[in-house]
């Protein structure tokens, strides 16, 4: 299984520095990881987004500790209040006096948890399926791509409604699994496309000639060359999952009470959106903030990870 065509380990210096050092030159080895880090840190939008995301995610995950009120704490003396510092209703209250900031915080916690579960599950499934289909072609490809065609042939929003009826509505983790089972197809297609063209490349041929097995070629030689589209896609999936989950919850088929959800908050606020602007605006802004920062981070990753780009 030994192959002469190797990728340097991620933390190995690029090039032979020993020789230069013998000549008395001081050399700082530059590793792939350092290059990546340097590129990423320079991406100001991505760094800023990372800070925003960490803040929002931390606030969401520690909703229990941060929220000034419980998610469903009713205060009938403080109904439909605009955002105010009085009583710390910084995002106002809804029509039965529940603190809106707390509700949004708990809703965001659900969204974040669901989205990250979806991303991990769907990226794994999609990468493996796409790689196998693109590498082996033939009947394996046909079979897997027909499966992809089939999943794509029924719009997921419609399928989700049916699936929700089957698997019991309202549970965040069930919604996450359903979403993941429908969202891996895009990644599979992208990965397959990459593999279809990569498998004709010389380095694959060279690896095969030097006796590397299929699994080694697929995961050691080809996968590193596919990583950037996979990572870009995985970040897109996180954002997509949050958007889809909130859409489902908005339509009343996603996460349901007693589980808090941002989409449901917007649906509840829709009726009075012309008079009480914060009810629809605020949960939406949180969704936008999370998705926007995730997308910027993905963009930064894409630029930083791509080894074919000139060093900056």
């Amino acid at each position: 299984m030994s192959s002469d065509i190797r990728h340097p380990p991620p933390d190995a210096p690029l090039g032979d520095t020993a020789e230069l050092e013998r000549e008395g030159l001081s050399v700082t080895p530059v590793t792939q990881w350092m290059l990546f880090r340097r590129r990423f840190v320079r991406h100001k939008l991505a760094m800023f987004s990372l800070a925003v995301l960490l803040l929002v995610v931390a606030a969401a995950l520690f909703a229990e500790q941060i929220a000034p009120y419980a998610f469903d704490e009713i205060d009938l003396r403080n109904r439909s209040r605009a955002p105010t510092l009085d009583g710390w209703h910084i995002l106002g209250t809804d029509k039965i006096g529940r603190d809106y900031f707390s509700r949004v915080l708990f809703g965001a916690r659900t969204s974040v948890r669901v989205a990250f579960t979806v991303a991990v599950l769907s990226t794994t499934i999609g990468t493996v399926v796409g790689a196998v289909a693109g590498y082996y072609r033939g009947w394996v490809d046909d079979l897997l791509m027909r499966l992809v065609d089939f999943i794509l042939a029924v719009p997921f929003l419609a399928v989700l409604l049916v699936a929700a009826a089957y698997l019991g509505r309202g549970s965040p983790m069930r919604v996450a699994v359903i979403l993941a089972l429908l969202l891996w197809t895009n990644i599979a297609r992208v990965v397959r496309g990459q593999y279809l063209s990569l498998r004709e490349k010389e380095f694959v041929e060279a690896a095969r000639a030097s006796g590397a097995g299929d699994a080694r070629i697929i995961f050691r030689h080809m996968l590193p060359n596919t990583l950037s589209p996979i990572i870009v896609n995985a970040t897109l999936v996180v954002a997509l999952a949050i958007l889809l989950e909130s859409t489902l919850s908005f339509l009343g088929f996603g996460i349901q009470p007693p589980n808090p959800a941002l989409g449901k908050l917007i649906a509840d606020g829709q009726g009075s959106m012309l008079t009480q602007w914060w009810l629809v605006t605020m949960p939406g802004l949180v969704i936008v903030a999370i998705c926007l920062s995730i997308n910027f981070i993905g963009d930064g990753l894409r630029d930083a990870l791509d080894p074919t780009q000139p060093r900056r």
Partner: protein, 323 residues
Amino acid sequence: MLTYVARRLLFSIPVLALASVVVFFGVASVGDPLAELRLKPGVSQITIDNVIERKHLDEPLPQRYGYWVREAVTDRFGETVFGRPIWPDLTRALKNTMQLVLVAEVLSLLIGVPIGILSARRQYSLFDYSATVVSFLGYSIPIFWFALILQVVFTNLYRATGTRLFYTSGLSSVDPGTGLAFLLDRMQHLALPIIAIAYINVALYSRYMRASMLETLHADYVRTARAKGVREGTVTRRHAVRNALIPIATLAAINFGATFGGAIVTESIFSLDGMGLFFLRALGAREVYSVMAFLMITSIIVVVANLVADMVYGLLDPRIRYE
């Protein structure tokens, strides 16, 4: 090429057949088709018995599946349990949704692809950063929320100024007029839903085009072309853009289904008489036959879109041969 298309069309048949099986057994086992009918006041047992006989509801599921397929093919999906023919409602909704989705798709490609090319050509320029922020914002906005905000903004605009720029709901005015007046009225109604859908699609296409362009711009053959002294504009146009368009063609076709799905949400917010509203209404009324008809029609549209994507793929990339 022709044999390939024929083979793919042939392949579509089992895909659609499988879809029909999943749709039927999925939907039919979820709910009792008669549930809503039984709840309706003034519906006699005789009416219900008639429906049971007409839809063969007293027979096991596999047989009912056969009857359903036959009815779908020979009688254009037949009638709902309430006795209303499905086809007229469905085609009217399909026509309206197609109007919306096609205009939005074409518009998004025409705007999104050039933005992506420019962004990649001038990576990290002011234009690139602005385009990135604007398109990322579009990509991060939930379509239903964006539609709601559009509604609020344009309702308040109308209230403040008293002049109507765009309508915030419906497909036509009570008296839409004829000819040009009708067209203008329709455009005023469709504008906001199209903006809602197109913004999100422009964001998607421009991002993918940018990523794809960056890939081709750093490819060896582009460097070779430059080394040979080909002018930069020609390099971009002839070498980079053409190859960068290949994944976009696939994406556009795949996304067509998603756009169609996105129309469900948009239509429900703008109360457009389209497929989305048809579907949500059918779900609300628990009318399984309409739901299944919707799912099948949408499946056919998406399968065709995928076929088109593969054909375009072959046209754009001469390395790909269809035997």
